[in-house]
Each structure stands twice: as C-alpha cells, then as structure tokens.
Subunit: 320 residues, 3 copies
C-alpha cells in the first residue's frame, strides 16, 4: 500500500481513504462544510493556495470531477492547468514517469489524476519530488477518495454525526465500483452502524473484500429499515455479468423505484454518484424526488475538494 | 417561445433578440460601445463579474465565438471554464438535463451554449435554477443573438443611429442561417428602413419567415442603392440546393466582387460573419477592401459579449 | 528571412535565434536566470504583463512546451488562452490568415505558435498588426528558439560563461531537428569553442548547413573530450533513413550509454530535449545519472519563456 503521509504524519497525498483515522476524516468534513454554500450565493473564495500550481491529468473523460477540482483550486487562489497528457505524450511514446518528472520541473505542486489503470496514481506518488502532492480523482475500480468524502459529508448534513446509529445500503455493481470502495472506507472509518451490500451474484465483490459489509441478494431483503440508499451506476456491458435470472431486465430486479424505497425508513435519503442511467438503476420519480440528495452530493464535491487541496498543501520554503 | 425575462422584466437569459424593445437594444449597444477599444490599446477590464462562474458549453467547434465569450468574461473578472460536455457526458449516456443540473450544483452562474440542435438552449434555460442565466452562442439555424448585436453595433459605428434611413441587403444562404435570423431581429427591432433578402430560390427562407424582408433573386436587382451588404457563408454541401441555373458556380451568380458592390451606395459597408469562403461568396478585393468592416465585427464581438454578460448578471444574495 | 525587429531595433517577434547578437542573447539568459527557482519553492511571479492577452496556437501536440508558455505568461500576469485553431478553423475551410486577423481583432497581443509546416510562423508575423508579437514554439524542422535559449541557459549554469572554452557534441537525427538548428544558432552566437555533429550519413544535415559544425560519423570519434553531449530524439520512422550498417539497431551505433559517455570529459553534462526514447537514443543509466541535466532543461524552459515574453512586450498606448 502506498504511503500517503509525510514523515511528520500529515497527509501529503490522497490516494485512498484506507488508513485515515476517524478524527482525520471528521476534520476534513468539518473543513469542507465551511466551504459549502447555497445555490445562487457567492461561492467561498480565498487565497490560501496562491502561488500553488495544480495540474489536472484526466486520462478518462470526466466533466464533473475535473471541473469541480478546477473550481476548487481556483477558488483557493491556485493556478490550475488542464494537461492532456495522454494525447500528447503517448503519441510520442514518452513514458508516464518522464512526463511526471517533466511536469514537476515546470513547478507543479500538485497533480490531480484520474486513470483507468489500477496502480498508476500510486506509482506517480511514489516517484514525485518531496514537495509534490498527488490526489486521486478516481482510479480504475479501486478508489475515488474525494467521492467517498463528499458522500460522507452529504450524510452528515442530512443525518447528523451519529454514524453509529445509521444503516447504509449500497446497491448495484459493487464489484467494479471505485465509488463503493471509497464509500466503504469513508463510512466504516466514521463508524457506520451497519453497511449492507445489495447486488446480483455476478456484481458482488470477491469474498474477503468489504469485510464489514453484510451481503444481500435482493433489494427486497437489503433495503429494510435503511437510513441511506446509495445506488451505483451499472455499465450496460456488465448487465450480462449480472446474470439476472430469466433474462429479465436490470431495473426490474435491482432498480430503485418508489415501491422499493418504501422498504427503507420513511426519512431515508437516496444517493447516486452520477451520471445516472435513468430507468435502469433508478427511476425519475426517485431520482428527482423528495428523498433524493443527489444534487447535494455534487455541490459538496467542490467543498470537499477545496478542503482536501488545502489539507495537503503545506507551507513552502522561502524563495531560493 | 422561451421566456427570457425575470418577473421584474429584466433580461435573465439571451436566447433570441425577438421581443427585445428598441430602447433595450440601444442600451445594450451603448454599453457595448463603452467596451470597444482600439487595436493595440489596453483592453477594457473591470471586476463587475468577480465571483461569477461562467461555463462555456460548445458542442460545435467555434474558435471565434468561444474565445470572445471567454475573454469577455475574464475581462469582467469572472471565472470562465470551458466544458467539453458532449465528449464526457454523451459517452456515458448522461442526459443533457442531468449534466446541466450537475454543473449548476458546481455553482455556475451562467452557461454560454452553442448547439447544432434547435431548442436545446431554450430547454436548458427552462430548467435551470432561478439564479442561473443562459446565453445562446449560436443555435442550429435558429438564432445567434450576440452576432446580431455585434452586427448592429458595427452598423451604428459606421452609419450612425438613424437606422430608419438605411437599407440592408442580406445575401446568400439565408434559409439555413442563424446569422441572418438574428440580424433580421436586431435590425427590424432597431427600425431599419429597408431589409432585403437576396438568395437563389433554394436558399430563400420559407414563405412567412422574415415577414418584413423584401425578396430578390439576384444581387443585380437587390444591391441597388444599399447602405449595408451582409454576405453569408455558404456551406459547400448546400450549393447543390442552391440549384444555380446552368450548373454555373456560386460565385458567378451570388458572390460579391467589386463590380457588384458598385451597385450599392458608394459608401456602402460590407459585412461577413466569418469564416469566409474567399472566392466563393466574396472575393479578396472586397473582403480586404476599403468598404469592408469585417474585422470591426470581430472586435465588436468581445465588447457586445461583455455588455450582455454584464446585463444579465444580477446582484447576488449575501452569503448563506 | 523574416524581420523580427521593430524599427528601433528591439525584438518584436522571436522566430529564429539567427541574427541575435551575443549581448542580446546574454541579456535574455540573464533575465531568464532571474526567473529560475528551486523545485518546491514559490515560483517567481509579477504583474509585468497585466492586461496582455496571449494566444497559444499549437497545431502539433506538445504538453511540455504549451504548458511552459502558459505558465510563463500567467506568472507574468497575462491572460493566456489556448486556441484549438486547427480543429475549429480547418474544419470550416477558413484560411490561416483570416484566423489570425480574427484573433488579432479579439485583442490578442501575442501569439505563441507551433506548426509542423515551415514558414507558417513567419507568414503570420509578416501579416499581423504592428502591436502584435509572434513567438515560435517550434517550427517544422527549422527552428525552436526558446529551446535553444533554455539549452544555452542550462550550459551557462553548469559550465559558466566562457563558452569559448567548451566543446559541444550534438548526436543523432540532426537533419530533421529544429532543436539542433536552434542550438547551433544559440551556441555559435554565444561563441562556443567547438561544435560537433555526430550522425549517421542519412541523418546528417545537407552540406552547407551548420557551417561551423565539425562532422563525425561515429560517437566514438566525436565524443572525445566533449564538455556537453546533446542527444536528439530519433523518430522511429527515420531509423530506416539512418541506414545503420549491417541492419544493427540504432542504440548499438548511436545511443548514449555509460561506456560512450566516458569518452567525453569526466564532468561532461548530458542534455536531451525530451521526450526521450529510452533504450533507443539514450539508456536509463545515463538519462537518470549524475551527469544528466535533462530536468534542469525543463525547469529552465519556464524561466526562458518568461524572459522572452517580457522582452518582446512593449509599453502600450494609453486607452483610446
């Protein structure tokens, strides 16, 4: 596992939430809460990252996450540069590491990386100069730490800080989901009361993964009495693997509609990392309904990323 | 028709010039004129949009319009973020509306949208939160309101404010042109004396469209005594539709050269929205000649967009 | 040859280093040295280019050069806009010149251009308005002046200012290399003692080019006693042209490894413009070794570009 801390124990990178102690998670959420603002109001801005240059390296497309990191950095006064590294480097055969060293020499202080290949983010973090921080913006099926934090912040806002009294159900393609893995780390780290995994056999994670998760094969069983229902996006190409009995469609067996949601507590909240496949894993009535906090999740994304950027930034040496 | 006003009657969106009263148009042009600056001089800048975040959504390529909106926003102190929404969203099957809601939750205050599909811009405007403004940067063949305004500003600068004394001739592929439609709305709104449409039959708009336009089938007839000659770009794939008699080429019948321009008044000005097909709808001598105000149009584009951005922005609630 | 000076003799464009006198080169390097900063320290920033708008036109992909120009401009307070001109213009058939005129009218003060076609940069410079400067960011095989300057700055830092005592060996595909041509101009301009060209026959420049260069057909002959070894990138598609005898691979005959490097002086430095083909023109041990100054070259790139941007910028007329 990658060491994401400085010798003094402070957080230098954020590649996984695994290993973050509860007070550390709570401090990040508290800091993020200070950056949350209402729609239409002036966004929070300061100059705490003035002089810092952040490079966004997204080798997978992502409007939402890229833009929210970009806005988070700019609203803290940093320079943010989008780097199309895949295009320009891979075309010339330059290795990832030479690219990183090159960017480092251009005086980038932080890299925000999204990559479809497991291990790339950690590989970069292991090789950059001591003053550079690396933040994962989503890594293969493995990890999406700022998503885990924004999910936790959303729950905190709606359900308060007594996570031990809450039951969270994660529903869908858990096996291939970085969102589910980071949610698991965030919520177990915060002491969630119960964490349920609801998925067809073919999309359930391997035995041994998600050790504290209680597994259910149908929403009818798993949603009973839940406080939080977290729906996951299902890729069309994986529905086959879901091996739904009788060839029925995915929504019929695992999609969230009003009827299924009524199995959860009356004040249960509904989450989705987006983009949604409406009509496949969730229907419009629930997605846009009273219990949906999906838009809050997006709004919290900028706040959480501001908190993380500020957390990993450190005082810099005076000019040489 | 989309309602582009706030309850108090002020302009919230700019999707069409249709419905803008003459004083409203004149006020926008006056404000824009204040942002015009000479080549080589320091561009006008202020901080009136500080704290405002603008998202550029261009689903059609456009260097000129995208960059001029980007510069306009930045020169007013706004954050401007280019969003490649088509790429990243459509690839995942996310609906346009979910994308807009997502971006809204990231605290965008304005969206500048160019789209090749009629109705998309209005659809977005109808669905965004109350504090968000939507500006069209060109919509299918329907509308390009800031182009209409910059054309009007260019005429104002060269011909003065007595629009009722002027004759404008629009020449070329009027049927498929958003530029022509917005020019029609701008100049009829400002009380143009006479507005002529010159096009081959196949490129003339449907009967009923452009009701105040006087139709001519040849430049020889239509250009007589004009004050303003507005040439339109002809797409190569539409020349067939132009059904030029005898299979002759487009320039021979509808292109603007010195000889044809002499039919207009001696001080007539020549306009073109660019990019030009030199040698097809206009020749070099005229495009680069003394009567051409084509470069003024581009320069005025930034000024007009600054005026529009400032116009639709409104005082914001204090921080929550 | 393009005239890149103003009537008063000051540098307006930077398209080639050819014709820059030694004091002029030295002044640029001195100014650049003032912008060099240590990794991890706060980058040098000021507001000397506030109000200036710079357009990056890269029609070839280039992460390193584009980003270093972008950061250089921003760290001097300029607005920097990346323009995907090739995409949006060529698709519509707009000519290069109309595009440039259009961008000029948007109040760009400087264009930074990379193009794969020889002559395009000079063509633009010959045609822009008097207040606009044009900087080459790499032109076909012809010229890459800021690369020449950063190479010279790197040598200056490691070897001091007595260029006349130094021997520089350039190794590889010199024939097709803009890096080699600009290095030749920079180092002969600074009075280098000896400049050697080491290449297989098929990659040696035409007779008459590089007149002061001493030609060697093997590294074994050419590297003897050198102070600086500048390796060039070899394109895979040109290895055929290298016509290596016996069909052996390129590295075997022209690649730099520890054994060959020992032919140079013990304190010789190794340079490479990047991206490297590790294992083809250079091996890992040398690329990452004690004598390598490759990362310094990248770091110096931002400083040199800041110096050049500042140099060509000129006081602007008061507002109209």
């Amino acid at each position: 596992m990658v060491n994401q801390r400085r010798p003094d124990g402070s957080l230098r990178h954020l590649i996984t939430l695994d290993g973050l102690a509860r007070p550390e998670l709570e401090k990040l959420l508290q800091r993020a809460q200070g950056y949350v603002c209402l729609p239409g109001s002036q966004p929070r801005m300061n100059q705490r990252l003035a002089g810092i240059t952040i490079g966004n390296l997204f080798t997978e497309p992502s409007t939402r996450t890229r833009v929210s990191f970009e806005l988070a950095g700019r609203r803290l006064g940093a320079e943010v540069v989008n780097l199309e590294v895949q295009l320009s480097s891979q075309m010339k055969g330059e290795t990832m590491l030479d690219t990183i060293r090159t960017l480092e020499s251009l005086h980038f202080d932080m890299f925000v990386i999204r990559d479809s290949q497991a291990g790339v983010v950690a590989h970069v973090a292991d090789n950059v100069a001591a003053h550079v921080s690396v933040l994962s913006a989503g890594e293969a099926h493995v990890s999406h730490p700022t998503q885990g934090l924004l999910d936790a912040l959303t729950v905190l806002q709606h359900k308060g800080e007594r996570f031990d009294r809450l039951t969270l159900a994660v529903v869908g393609d858990i096996r291939h989901s970085r969102v589910a893995r980071s949610a698991y780390e965030a919520f177990t780290g915060l002491g969630i009361g119960e964490l349920r995994l609801i998925a067809p056999e073919g999309l359930m994670p391997q035995p041994g993964e998600f050790p504290r998760g209680v597994r259910f094969s149908t929403p009818e069983d798993g949603l009973q009495g839940c406080d939080i229902v977290m729906m996951l996006r299902i890729q069309k190409e994986r529905m086959q693997a879901a091996a739904i009995p009788d060839g029925g469609d995915y929504f019929q067996h695992f999609g969230l509609d009003r009827r299924r949601l009524q199995l959860a507590k009356p004040d249960a909240i509904v989450m989705h990392p987006q983009p949604m496949n409406r009509g496949i894993e969730i229907d419009d009535e629930v997605a846009d309904g009273r219990q949906s906090v999906i838009r809050d999740q997006v709004r919290n994304g900028v706040a959480v990323r501001m908190a993380v950027l500020e957390q990993v930034a450190r005082p810099r040496p005076l000019r040489a």
